[in-house]
């Protein structure tokens, strides 16, 4: 599935979470619990939608998603920068 970020775009690899994909491609993203209860990794979703196999405990606003535990089922645009472009 295609992910468009602030500075680039990439394809999510098979079985990889969005958080792992962002880390693999050198994006700046925070994390703590990696399982949906702390909310540290929350990012802004600009276009598209995601689903959650299990509803996360963390608070997420309407325009935010948790890349650690969401499933990307359609191409999305998110507002995440590359580490090198910070």
């Amino acid at each position: 599935m295609q992910v468009i970020t602030r500075d680039t775009l990439f394809e999510l690899a098979e079985g990889e979470t969005l958080l792992e994909g962002l880390e693999r491609t050198g994006h700046h993203v925070e994390y703590q619990c990696r399982s949906g209860y702390c909310g540290a990794c929350r990012i802004k979703l600009k276009v598209g939608s995601v689903v959650y196999p299990k509803p996360p405990l963390a608070f997420v606003k309407r325009d935010e998603i948790l890349p650690c535990c969401c499933l990307v089922t359609e191409p999305i645009v998110i507002n995440v920068p590359l580490k090198s472009k910070l």
């Binding site: 700046h28 925070e30 994390y31 703590q32 619990c33 990696r34 963390a58 608070f59």
Partner: protein, 379 residues
């Protein structure tokens, strides 16, 4: 006239229609129906995290501590004193301050579960301190004598104390102007709600920033393979704190949205500037604390400047989570990215039933049965 607090209000009510706070005090503790199921989920998660300090072996830390240079001993103990202070407050205050005001059962029980888990943290500090110093009193006594710690304590407890005091008066006398001990005081619900909102904000800051500053110090030792028993305990505490933080973020956001209590949204707007100031002030205070910690020298991987940058970075992050604009422009990068590896809870495995801790099994039936045990059986 408002509903007086009662431990079991006999007025029949629909709990699904009550606001989080200031409705009818909770009577039946029932969870079959929930206005905000998130609090029940937080309770379940917190219970699944249950751990006991005694499960963590801290004996190597004693040797490590003895070999630390003096300025690092100061950093370690100072940090531990601060953590002890934070959890001393958190182990009781949510119960005392929020329980008399809450009006839905799942939130009431979440507050109790939350506060209880903080008491485990407090007990774990005693476990750590007892192990590294011969006389724990030297550490504990300093918490109320050390000016640098006391400053923080009063900042945190003031919001709780003011809320508790004002809520007591409100409960006793209700809204209006009253003559008390020759003093004229005016009590109104809007003001009380403001005190609750600001207190919740200050608790959020405590959990979201103050604790994390202390975690950074604990893990900086462990990065060098020192004080690892301590770090193991702090990881468990950090896992709990992430959950508590989620709890207060939910409460604050529900208040701001106003669907639960329209007046609360007004309160949130009225407290906007003050909320930002709570964050700003705490961030400044945490930086001063860093200065005190490192006054006799830094440690490898952490110094005043790095910790200050971390304070700014994490303050920005936490502010946006509760709908406030970040106040430190440019602090958009984590200066200590290694901390996340310590904070991740994937590999924290301590549920007693999973690791077979001997103390947990005492008094229980051993359900292991080998074939030999049945050797003398005949049918």
């Amino acid at each position: 006239m408002k509903m007086k607090y009662s431990t079991f209000s006999q007025a029949d009510n629909n709990q699904m229609g009550e606001p989080m706070f200031f409705g009818q005090p909770v009577n039946v503790a029932r969870y079959d129906q929930q206005k905000y199921p998130i609090f029940e989920k937080l309770i379940e998660k917190q219970l699944s995290f249950f751990w006991r300090p005694e499960e963590v072996d801290v004996s190597q830390d004693r040797i490590d501590f003895r070999n630390l240079p003096d300025h690092e001993k100061h950093i370690f103990l100072g940090n531990l004193k601060y953590q002890t202070l934070l959890d001393s407050i958190q182990g009781r205050s949510p119960n005392v301050a929020f329980l008399p005001l809450v009006s839905i059962p799942e939130l009431e029980t979440w507050i109790e579960t939350w506060s209880f888990s903080e008491t485990i943290h407090s007990r774990s500090y005693t476990h750590i301190i007892r192990n590294i110093v011969n006389d724990p009193a030297v550490v504990f006594d300093d918490i109320v004598r050390n000016r640098h710690i006391i400053e923080r304590a009063s900042d945190i407890s003031t919001y709780y104390d003011e809320l508790i005091q004002y809520a007591n008066l409100y409960n006793q006398f209700g809204e209006g102007t009253h003559q008390l001990n020759g003093e004229t005081i005016t009590i109104d619900l809007f003001e009380l709600k403001k005190k609750l909102y600001l207190c919740m904000m200050s608790v959020n800051v405590l959990e979201a920033i103050r604790f994390y500053v202390s975690f950074a110090c604990s893990f900086a030792f462990a990065e060098r393979r020192l004080m690892e028993g301590n770090a193991k305990i702090i990881r468990l505490i950090a896992r709990d704190e992430a959950l508590h933080l989620t709890g207060t973020q939910h409460i604050i956001n529900i208040m701001q949205e106003g669907d639960d209590d329209p007046q609360m949204a007004e309160v949130a707007r009225a407290c906007h500037e003050q909320s930002i100031e709570i964050f700003r002030h705490a961030a400044e205070q945490e930086k001063q604390w860093a200065e005190y910690l490192f006054k006799d020298g830094s440690m490898i991987g952490l110094n005043y400047s790095i910790l200050s940058q971390y304070v700014e970075y994490i303050t920005n992050l936490r502010m946006s989570a509760v709908g406030l604009e970040p106040i430190f422009p440019g602090a958009n990068q984590n200066p200590i990215p290694w901390i996340n590896a310590w904070l991740v809870s994937d590999n924290v495995q301590v549920a007693p039933q999973e690791v077979e801790v001997s103390s947990y099994l005492v008094g229980q039936i051993d359900s292991e049965v080998s074939l030999e045990d049945l050797g003398e059986f005949e049918l």
